[in-house]
Amino acid sequence: MKRARKGRGFPAAGVPFLLWTAFFVAIPLIYILCMSFMKRAATWGVVAEFSLGSYAKMLSPAYLRVFGESLWLSVLTTGFTLLLGYPFAYFTAQLSPKRRSLALLLVIVPFWTNSLVRIYGWMILLRSQGVVNALLIALGVIDTPLKLLYNFGAVLVGMVYALLPFMILSVYNSISKLDPSLTEAARDLGAGKWRAFWSVTVPMTRAGIMAGCVLVFIPSVGLFFISDLLGGAKTMLLGNLIKNELLTARNWPMGAALSVVMMAATLLVIGLYQKLSGEKSLEGIV
């Protein structure tokens, strides 16, 4: 009996999947982890010599500031996408089925366009002789163009714009599953509109909110081109730093070490998500 069970736990059908995981997930990760403990070679590549140098370097103030700024931007991005995405998802769920599909289609379709192209669109809107400034000048609101591009605000706008669909879709997913009779019951029992919203709707859709936050927060740590294009590369984020270490400074161990830290932080956030949402599986965010 015991033997038979053991055999079933390892069916031949699982072998391709295991190989796939080993080759494309496990081995690259181990490779990155090993490289992060090596030393940079003089011209190209790494020297297989154990060193904690890359990790020690991360504790210097310049690097800590990069972490801090990255974290701050990610928190802000998550906050704003929630602020914009929740009402959007909430009101979309109230629409008639036909309009609802249209609203969701409008969220998803731009998503099919390359995000780099869409960010260039923002550059055309925001630059000093761009659409927004031209409009404001034509309306007589301002005399000289505003400096809308190449600052922290522009980066934040780009990040929120790029990641908003993740938030909307996960929140919508849980709001649409909400049984309307629950809020009706709350209203019948004397709760006001807001009270019913805060004490019934929000807690009931917490899973969607959490999933949305994780889905926005994690990629926001790694996105580097938005800061390069809209922020004039003036805000160095974790993603920029990794790109810089790997491509420009050619310090592969440093880039690998930063990637390891980023992955560890990501795991931490997912762990937090599991703990707070009480969900053992990761179905909500995959």
């Binding site: 011209t43 310049a62 630059r127 400096k147 004039g232 730093l241 420009t248």
Partner: protein, 344 residues
């Protein structure tokens, strides 16, 4: 199983026979293996070479100089390599370069002497300089309000608050800071670099954006008043807005030369010599320059070049300085300063 083994053995034998056969006649094959960045030798020039000589060109590319060196060290069979000065210097030190037979390159005399006797080939034995990358200052007179711009120091002028675009590059920007302090682009003394860092930090309020690849867009769209970028990018900006002005900085330019060499183990050295002579022809060299947008190193090409910015004044080069490899420690220091500066 048996069948497989036999098939495999046959295949191996075939491969062996073919490679042996190939070995025997390699030197007089009509082939040239070129190794450089993508599109750096213009297609029409290569096609013309094949047409005239019947020599087929195999074009392999690398992404970075360091990748080139690694492949050359591990025995890559190339006949012509086009790369940057500092890495050629390293390759020369390792004996990876073949001494040129100048009797096979009559056009060698066309090379502008300003680009000869360089640090990476002091006795002109190994390389043919191909192009010079010289960053310069560009400004928009409509936006600078009559402030005169002569050199790097002017980038620090408080009048240009939040209106300067510079390339996103540690060596160049820390380098120009060093120049304003009367030091070298290739400074390695940590104490001096520390001073440069402090001075660099005061440039920060003037920086509107860092852009390595498309800084001309900011000059064209009026986003920035002053820029520091490569000549090719300056030309792109000038094509869109001829009102822009250019300056070779008074403190001296920091430039890089890309040059062509023949690897010591080149399988088709004769073809490689023929190719070098071919690209050194004045008229042809001018055509290359007008396509790659880098400064010309060929005196015979000058009359054919229509864009004056592509012929860098000899004085600018002589008073300038090559940006060299500064070694592992100083490179790390440059990168650290850069990270700190960008994050400030």
């Amino acid at each position: 199983m048996r069948k497989w083994t036999r098939a495999l053995a046959l295949l191996l034998a075939a491969v062996l026979a073919l490679s042996l056969g190939a070995c025997g006649k390699k030197a007089d094959e009509k082939v040239l293996n070129v190794f450089t960045w993508a599109t750096y030798f213009p297609d029409d020039i290569l096609a013309e070479f094949t047409e005239q000589t019947g020599i087929k060109v195999n074009y392999s590319t690398f992404e970075s100089n360091e990748e080139m060196l690694m492949k050359l060290e591990s025995g890559g069979e190339y006949d012509i390599v086009l790369a940057s000065d500092y890495i050629i210097d390293i390759a020369r030190g390792q004996g990876l370069l073949m001494e040129l037979d100048k009797s096979k390159i009559p056009n060698f005399k066309n090379i502008n002497p300003t680009y000869q006797n360089t640090f990476f080939d002091p006795d002109n034995q190994y390389v043919v300089p191909y192009s010079a990358g010289v960053p310069m200052i560009i400004y928009n007179p409509a936006m600078t309000g009559g402030v005169e711009i002569k050199g790097y120091e002017d980038l620090w002028n408080p009048a240009f608050a939040d209106s300067v675009v510079v390339m996103d590059d540690a060596r160049n920007i820390i380098g120009i800071t060093l120049k304003t302090m009367g030091k070298s682009f290739n400074e390695t003394d940590p104490a001096v670099l520390e001073q440069a860092k402090e001075k660099l930090m005061t440039l920060r309020p003037n920086i509107r954006a860092f852009d390595y690849n498309t800084p001309y867009n900011l000059m064209i769209s009026g986003e920035t008043a002053v820029g520091y970028m490569f000549t090719s990018q300056v030309i792109t900006a000038l094509n869109a807005n001829p009102e822009l002005k250019t300056v070779y900085p008074a403190e001296g330019v920091g430039f890089g030369i890309d040059a062509v060499f023949i690897p010591a183990k080149a399988p088709h050295a004769d073809n490689a010599h023929a190719f070098l002579d071919f690209i050194l022809d004045g008229e042809r060299s001018a055509r290359i320059t007008e396509q790659t947008f880098y400064g010309s190193c060929n005196s015979a090409a000058t009359p054919y070049i229509t864009n004056p910015l592509l012929v860098i004044p000899d004085d600018a080069i002589r008073s300038g300085e090559s940006i060299k490899d500064v070694g592992e420690e100083a490179t790390a220091l440059f990168n650290d300063i850069w990270t700190e500066f960008k994050q400030s």
